[in-house]
């Protein structure tokens, strides 16, 4: 097992970043976030985790944290870009509108949409029958612009587990 992990990891580490990005781009849940570097500069946070590394993390945490291991196991990629907006919301909002249009055209379903004067939040899901193949979150406010994309085939029960794990409750009690 150790030998197998070593081989996988060696292959993974030898894989260039561009190859990992290309691998993510081929997945159905991939969203092309427009590059805002020219407007906001370098992103404050930028993470690209590919499927092989996620699977390795799952294998490594299987004994200590089986729930997290199960959550990660079927993910194919996790990406995030966070830009500091410094009060300049419009370029980020334009990109959100652009991405929103392309997501809807690609049959992504809106889950949460908040269009407030000083904050905009868009959460989309890509589903295939009863499976979720992608989750996209875009949030823009005066402080920052967050573009988050989680790729992978996950069944709704696992999505619920992810939400429980994160202690997130997006249901609104209307009573």
């Amino acid at each position: 097992m150790k030998m197998l992990l070593t081989i996988i990891l060696a292959a993974l580490f030898s894989m260039p970043v561009t190859a990992q990005t290309a691998q993510l781009e081929s997945l159905p849940g991939y969203v092309d976030f427009a590059d805002l570097d020219a407007i906001y500069g370098e992103p404050r946070v930028m993470v690209n985790i590919g499927g092989p590394l996620l699977k390795l993390m799952s294998a490594a945490s299987a004994a200590d944290d089986p729930e997290t291991a199960a959550m990660i196991r079927n993910l194919e990629g996790v990406r995030i870009k966070v830009y500091p907006t410094g009060g300049n919301l419009q370029p980020a909002l334009d990109k959100v509108s652009e991405a929103k249009a392309s997501l809807q055209a690609a049959q992504w379903e809106p889950v949460v949409q908040v269009n407030d004067a000083d904050e905009q939040v868009q959460i989309f899901m890509k589903t295939n029958e009863d499976k979720v193949e992608g989750l996209t979150v875009m949030a823009v406010n005066a402080e920052e612009a967050v573009f988050l994309n989680i790729l992978g085939v996950i069944d709704p029960a696992q999505v619920g587990k992810v939400m429980d794990k994160l202690n997130v409750d997006i249901d609104v009690d209307t009573e």
Binding site: T6, F13, V47, M57, V121, I123, V146, D169
Partner: protein, 176 residues
Amino acid sequence: MSERVDTEFTQLLDTFIDGDLEHSQRQLLLARAAEDPALGAELASAIELQQALSGMPRLKASASLTRKLHKIPRRESRWFSRWVLRPRSAFAAILVMSLIGGHELYQQQQHQLAQQAELAQAKQDLALVLAYLEKVNRSANTQIQVTVNEATARPVARITTKTLQNQLQPRQEFEL
């Protein structure tokens, strides 16, 4: 006669009894036996023993004994044994093997450390992404709650106002 010479001539006597002594060795043995009475006596005994053995008939070994003799493993070559048994050679061999093994072990350890560091970094990155997801969800949750509260509050306020107005209407008419 020293011990070393003793040992040397004892070996020569054994070889003599076996009949394998070379001519020069035989001459040396005879010359030395002429000088040394003890060696001469031993040589005389050896000659008697050799004559007695030469008179015995040669027997062929049985097949089972031959098989057993063939099964006895051959001894390792002497040069290798001697080389390995030399302290300096043995130390050098151990040193070389230790260096090779140590280098291999060092490389494996470095590789494992790099793997662990990469995994730890990936875990941190994933935790960061999940934290942002949670943050965005909380923000959306708050916005939705505010919107729903406003949406439900306005109709209630309208109904309440209308009801109050309706109740006030007759009184106002009465007063008028």
